[in-house]
C-alpha cells in the first residue's frame, strides 16, 4: 500500500485575485486564532460544506474533517447544508456574506477529482470568513483508497494553521480490544485510525495482551503477552508482521516502551519478586539493568531527547514518580503530592509528564512539569488509567473503566476542559498513540 501523500501549496488562482480586488474594502479584523493552552472556553464555529466533485467522496472527506475538528473540542462545525453558496469551484472565491450569516468564523471548502490513472486529487482552501482572507490553499494527491488519510492531512493543516500547534489526526492508535466479563476477559491486540476507522485485530485473544506502544517510526509496536507459562515482550513490525522478543529472562518481563529514536526498549524484569528496569539495545541485543533498588521499579518512559527516563517506584513507601539519567544514574523523586502515582509518560514535546494518580477511592489522569512542578489533575473517576500522548503533546488518550468493568477510550486536553469519549466505542484499554504518519 502506497501511503505517500504529495503535499504542495496551491498558488492563488487568478480568478481569486481578481474577485478579491473587486470586493469592497473589508473591515480590518484580527485574524482568527484558537488558543489551545487555554482550552476551548468557546469552540470556534467553522463551516465545512461537502467538497465538490467525485460523487460522494467530497462529502465523505468533509465528514471526516468535521469529525476530527469537532472531537478536538476546539472547533464547532456548523450545519451548513442550506447555505445558498454551493462552492462548486474551489478556485472561485466564496460569497462571504452567505457564510458570515451562518456565524462561521472559518470556512473550509474543497474539490475532489479522481484521474483516469486512479489518482485522487483534493484541492482545499481555508478562509477567514469575516476578514475574507485565505489562510491556507493546499493540494493533496494520493491513491483513491487513501481518501481518509487525505482528510486527516487536511484536518492537521487546518488545526495547525488555526492553533499554531501541530495536528494529530493523521495518526493511528494501538490498543487492547476487550470482550467477555470481568471474570473472563478476552483481550485482543488491535489497531485503528485515531478516529476509530479501520479497526483491525493483531492477535486472536487466545492469550492475554497488554500495554502496546508505538515506536517513533510508527511502523513498529511493542507489547506484553501473558500466558500461564510466563510473560513475553514482543516487538512487531506492522508492515511486515515480523515479530521478535526482547529475549528470555528468568522472571516476568513487562512494561515495555521504545526510546524516542526507536533503537532501544526500556522495560521491567522481575526476579525473585523484585522488579527492576532494564534497557535493551535492539542493534547489539544487549540488555543493561539500570535500577537495582529492592522495590518495585516499573513503567519507564524516555524523555524526547533520550537522555532521561521517568519511572514509577515504591522505594519511598508507596508508588511515586522518579526521574533518572538513561544510564540509571542521578535518580530523584519528582512527585510529592498525597496519593499513589503510576504510569508516567513523557510528552513528545518534552514539557510535561502525564501520569495516573490514585487518591482515596478515585483515579485521575494528570500532568506535571518534568521537575514535578505545576501538577494538574485533568480527570476523576472510579478508574482512569494509562495516558498516552497525541504527537503534538497537547491531547491525551486514556481508558476509563466503571465498577462494572467495561473499559472505554477517552481523550482529554492538557487543560482538562476538553474531556470526551474517543471515537472508538467498543470496550478497549491500554491505548497508545502513534506519531504523525509519514
Amino acid at each position: 500500500m502506497n501511503l505517500k501523500i504529495l503535499f504542495s501549496s496551491l498558488a492563488t488562482a487568478a480568478v481569486l485575485a481578481v474577485s478579491t480586488v473587486a470586493l469592497a474594502p473589508s473591515i480590518a479584523r484580527a485574524q482568527i486564532e484558537v488558543d489551545i493552552d487555554k482550552g476551548a472556553v468557546k469552540p470556534l464555529p467553522v463551516a465545512i460544506p461537502a467538497f465538490s466533485g467525485a460523487g460522494g467522496r467530497g462529502a465523505d472527506i468533509a465528514q471526516v474533517i468535521t469529525g476530527n475538528l469537532e472531537r478536538s473540542g476546539l472547533f464547532q462545525p456548523l450545519n451548513v447544508a442550506n447555505v445558498a453558496d454551493k462552492l462548486t469551484d474551489v478556485n472561485v472565491q466564496p460569497r462571504f456574506p452567505d457564510w458570515q450569516a451562518t456565524g462561521a468564523q472559518a470556512l473550509i471548502n474543497g474539490q475532489v477529482t479522481v484521474g483516469a490513472d486512479g489518482v485522487l486529487r483534493v484541492d482545499f482552501r481555508l478562509w477567514d470568513t469575516f476578514s475574507q482572507q485565505q489562510l491556507l490553499g493546499l493540494q493533496f494527491t494520493s491513491t483513491a483508497e487513501n481518501w481518509r488519510r487525505v482528510a486527516h492531512k487536511i484536518s492537521d493543516a487546518v488545526y495547525e494553521r488555526l492553533t499554531g500547534e501541530k495536528g494529530y489526526f493523521d495518526t493511528r492508535v494501538v490498543f487492547v480490544a476487550e470482550s467477555g466479563t470481568k471474570l473472563n476477559r478476552i483481550k485482543k491486540l488491535a489497531i485503528m485510525d485515531q478516529d476509530g476507522a479501520n479497526p483491525q485485530y493483531l492477535t486472536d485473544g487466545s492469550y492475554i495482551v497488554m500495554t502496546p506502544r508505538f515506536s517513533a517510526t510508527s511502523q513498529e509496536i511493542t507489547f506484553m503477552a501473558l500466558r500461564p507459562t510466563g510473560s513475553t515482550i514482543y516487538l512487531q513490525n506492522l508492515e511486515t508482521a515480523r515479530t521478535e522478543t526482547v529475549g528470555k529472562f528468568p522472571g516476568m518481563v513487562f512494561a515495555p516502551r521504545f526510546s524516542p529514536d526507536g533503537r532501544k526498549v526500556a522495560f521491567s524484569v522481575e526476579k525473585g519478586g523484585n522488579s527492576d528496569i532494564y534497557v535493551l539495545d535492539l542493534r547489539t541485543r544487549q540488555s543493561t539493568r539500570i535500577t537495582t533498588d529492592p522495590s518495585i521499579d516499573t513503567s519507564p518512559s524516555f524523555s524526547p531527547d533520550g537522555s532521561k527516563i521517568v519511572f514509577n517506584s515504591d522505594r519511598g513507601g508507596q508508588a511515586q514518580l522518579y526521574v533518572m539519567n538513561a544510564d540509571g544514574s542521578g535518580v530523584r523523586r519528582i512527585s510529592y503530592g498525597g496519593g499513589r502515582y503510576t504510569t508516567p509518560v513523557w510528552s513528545p514535546r518534552g514539557d510535561f509528564i502525564a501520569f495516573t494518580k490514585q487518591t482515596g477511592g478515585e483515579f485521575h489522569i494528570g500532568v506535571m512539569k518534568t521537575d514535578g512542578g505545576d501538577e494538574r489533575l485533568l480527570t476523576t473517576s472510579y478508574l482512569d488509567e494509562g495516558p498516552t500522548w497525541a504527537p503534538n503533546g497537547r491531547v491525551l488518550m486514556f481508558f476509563r473503566e466503571g465498577p462494572a468493568g467495561v473499559p472505554k477510550l477517552w481523550t482529554v486536553d492538557i487543560t482538562g476542559r476538553i474531556l470526551r469519549p474517543a471515537a472508538y466505542q467498543g470496550a478497549a484499554s491500554d491505548p497508545a498513540w502513534s506519531p504523525l504518519l509519514d
Binding site: L183, G273, N274, S299, T342, L383, E385, P403
Partner: protein, 184 residues
C-alpha cells in the same frame, strides 16, 4: 460394549412400551358398546418407600489429587492492600500446603500472584510478582524444594470476584498455588 448395547436395547424397549401406552391413552374411544365394569384398584401401590440399608454413602476425594489440595488444603491466601506480607491468618494454609507438598514430592506448582483492580496494570504486575514470591519463600522455608515451584503474576487480570467493593477487592488480592504436574 455388549453391556451398553443391551442397556440401550432395554431402554429402547421401555421407550417403545411408553410410546404405545401413550398412543392408547390418546386414541379416540371405540364406537362399540361401552364396558360397564369399574376400574379395579392397581394390585401394587404406585409408589413404595425405598428399602435397603439406610447408611449414607460418603464421597471423598482421593489423597494426593488436585481436588484433595484445593478442597482439603486450600489453594489461595489473601493479602492486605498494596502489601505482599504473608498475613498471620494465611500461615496455617501455607503451612498445610507445604506439608501436603512434602508428602507428595512429585507435585509441581505455579504460584500465581493477583492484585485487585485498584491499581494500575503494570504496577499490579509487579505487586502480584511480589505476592507470588512471598508464598514461594514461605513454602521453601517449610522444606519444599524451590525447583518444584514456579511463580507468575497475573496483576489485576484474573479477579475471582467481579464485584467492586472492599469485600471483592479483598478476595482479588491473593496468591493461588496451582498444581501444574505430579498430582495423582
Amino acid at each position: 460394549m455388549s453391556f451398553d448395547t443391551q442397556r440401550v436395547a432395554r431402554l429402547a424397549m421401555i421407550g417403545l412400551a411408553a410410546a404405545s401406552l401413550a398412543a392408547c391413552a390418546s386414541r379416540p374411544k371405540p364406537q362399540g358398546p361401552v364396558a360397564t365394569t369399574t376400574p379395579s384398584q392397581p394390585s401394587t401401590p404406585p409408589y413404595s418407600q425405598p428399602t435397603g440399608p439406610n447408611s449414607p454413602v460418603n464421597t471423598g476425594v482421593l489423597p494426593g489429587t488436585v481436588q484433595d489440595f484445593v478442597i482439603n488444603i486450600g489453594e489461595r491466601i489473601y493479602f492486605d492492600t498494596d502489601s505482599y506480607e504473608v498475613r498471620s491468618d494465611a500461615q496455617p494454609t501455607l503451612g498445610a500446603q507445604a506439608q501436603w507438598l512434602n508428602r507428595y514430592p512429585a507435585v509441581r506448582v505455579r504460584i500465581e500472584g493477583n492484585a485487585d483492580e485498584r491499581g494500575t496494570r503494570e504496577y499490579n504486575l509487579a505487586l502480584g510478582a511480589r505476592r507470588a514470591n512471598a508464598v514461594r519463600e514461605f513454602l521453601v522455608s517449610q522444606g519444599v524444594s524451590g525447583a518444584r515451584i514456579e511463580t507468575l503474576s497475573y496483576g489485576k487480570e484474573k479477579p475471582i470476584d467481579g464485584g467492586s467493593g472492599d469485600d471483592s477487592w479483598a478476595k482479588n488480592r491473593n496468591a493461588r498455588t496451582a498444581i501444574t504436574d505430579g498430582a495423582r
